[in-house]
């Protein structure tokens, strides 16, 4: 058996649970040792609040569209990633609702996930309550669509009819269908903030949106919105894992190049 077969065999047999526990312990350690670390800001958070202000100036509503974000049981990676966006996007919705409540901006949401639609209600209501204007929360502005086609067509229709002053599209859309909504929004002069789950959708955000952030950043939006130092320390801890993995890649590359492995 060759060296690389042995390594591969070992890797195959490392349980996913083992990897998770190792990462968890590193991040747990970071939550103590890296407290107080300062993080760079990410565009989605700042720009989303700016989007509310842009809507206030224009007197138009804001679109908060998370697409497929929510619990699903496809059981593979790209499906489970939509689950990771749930807490972050809901926290962002609360922050946007708080700002919108203060400035009197109407927030219209779009989701294809029924559970997420129900959860949106709680977070949005809380956000408007925190603004001091609970009466500005309109429950019927939480829009649920049974599938992506309906969401897409309805968003485009509203983008032209209302129109929206700005849109925050953080979540999962479907095989780049987000670009159809982006272009409808752009035609009406709306500001577009985007952060998609999947890379092919994010490439559309890079093409057409005014501000964008990546999947990993979007999962952490809640940490950026919080004043608590622990979540920020855990975020910084991710870099320790990345440095470790990069080191493995480099060392493995050198060993392979030298013919050792």
């Amino acid at each position: 058996m060759t060296m690389n077969q042995l390594v591969l065999q070992a890797l195959v047999r490392v349980d996913v649970l083992g990897v998770f526990i190792a990462f968890f312990l590193v991040l747990l350690g970071a939550s103590f040792t890296l407290r107080g670390v300062s993080l760079r800001s990410i565009p989605t958070v700042e720009a989303s609040l700016e989007a509310v202000r842009a809507c206030s100036e224009k007197g138009n509503p804001l679109l908060f569209d998370t697409g497929w974000t929510g619990a699903n049981f496809w059981g593979h990676s790209s499906g489970l990633t939509t689950l990771c966006f749930v807490p972050a996007t809901l926290e962002l919705l609360r922050a946007i609702s708080r700002e919108s409540g203060k400035l009197g901006v109407r927030v219209i949401t779009g989701t294809t996930n029924a559970v997420y639609a129900l959860m949106s209600h709680d977070f949005m209501q809380r956000g408007f309550a925190e603004s001091g204007h609970p009466e500005r929360f309109i429950p019927t502005d939480i829009r649920f669509y049974p599938d992506n086609t309906a969401l897409n067509l309805s968003d485009v229709e509203m983008a032209h009819r209302l129109p929206f002053g700005a849109a925050v599209m953080v979540g999962g859309h479907n095989q780049t269908s987000n670009v159809v909504i982006y272009e409808a929004l752009a035609t009406e002069g709306a500001m577009i903030v985007a952060g998609e789950i999947w890379p092919n959708d994010n490439s559309m955000a890079a093409l057409a949106a005014d501000y964008m952030s990546f999947s990993e950043e979007n999962i952490a939006i809640g940490s950026y919105l919080s004043d608590d130092p622990v979540p920020k320390a855990i975020l910084a801890g991710e870099d320790i894992i990345k440095v470790f993995l990069i080191a493995i890649v480099i060392i493995g590359g050198i060993l392979a190049g030298a013919g050792v492995w």
């Binding site: 990462f23 990771c84 807490p87 752009a186 093409l207 809640g222 608590d228």
Partner: protein, 208 residues
């Protein structure tokens, strides 16, 4: 004080239950064969999801009905939404997905609607290319060149100009895009583990 901590536990209950449920269902990926308890929880969760859909569809119909009652400008749209929802539900209740009318409607409305959106994607991708693709910065210029390379690689133009063009395009696709995609996903997975870590520490919640 006692009252306060009781309230906190109640507030954190959705997150605690979420983490425990997540762990049990995820265990199916590292135990072989999966244990019965995890299977039951996964199946129960999966079966409960349609009920949330029923509630939200009910809310959807209620909203459009209200619009009609208030004589909003969207009345035709509202009427079509309610009409089609009621029709589909009735057909589904009567004959299920195998019902020929249901199948014909699905094939000729849903599938065609989906294809319409997909067609719109292809046009909407070109739209920003023409609208905002200007070499205002070196990075933007590089992006434009890569886009043109891709256009030439995935159509016969590149091969007709020079065989090296599609080879270069394939190299970018297979190795550079493949590697960046890999980095993207690995970072996302690390981010996901960090999210779970925050949830275990109750620093990230499933209710406001």
């Amino acid at each position: 004080m006692g009252q306060q901590s009781q309230t906190n536990i109640v507030q954190e209950l959705p997150t605690i239950l979420g983490v425990i449920g997540l762990f049990i269902i995820a265990s199916l990926y590292w135990t072989e064969p999966g244990w019965e308890g995890a299977l039951v929880i996964r199946n129960a969760t999966t079966l409960s999801l349609p009920f949330a859909t029923i509630i939200t569809v009910g809310l959807l119909i209620r909203r459009h009905a209200r619009n009609i009652i208030r004589r909003e400008e969207t009345t035709p749209y509202d009427a079509i939404t309610i009409g089609s929802a009621v029709l589909i539900v009735l057909l589904g209740l009567v004959g299920g997905m195998a019902d020929p009318t249901m199948a014909a409607l699905y094939a000729n409305v849903n599938v065609i609607g989906t294809m319409a959106v997909i067609s719109a994607i292809s046009i909407s991708v070109f739209s920003p290319m023409i609208r905002i693709y200007r070499a205002k910065t070196p990075i933007m210029g590089f992006l434009i060149l890569l886009s043109i390379l891709a256009l030439f690689t995935y159509t016969p133009i590149g091969e007709m100009i020079h065989p090296a063009i599609p080879r270069l395009g394939d190299f970018v696709q297979i190795w550079i895009s493949g590697a960046s995609d890999s980095a993207f996903w690995i970072s996302t997975y690390i981010g996901a583990v960090a999210l779970i870590t925050r949830m275990i520490l109750l620093k990230e919640r499933l209710r406001p």
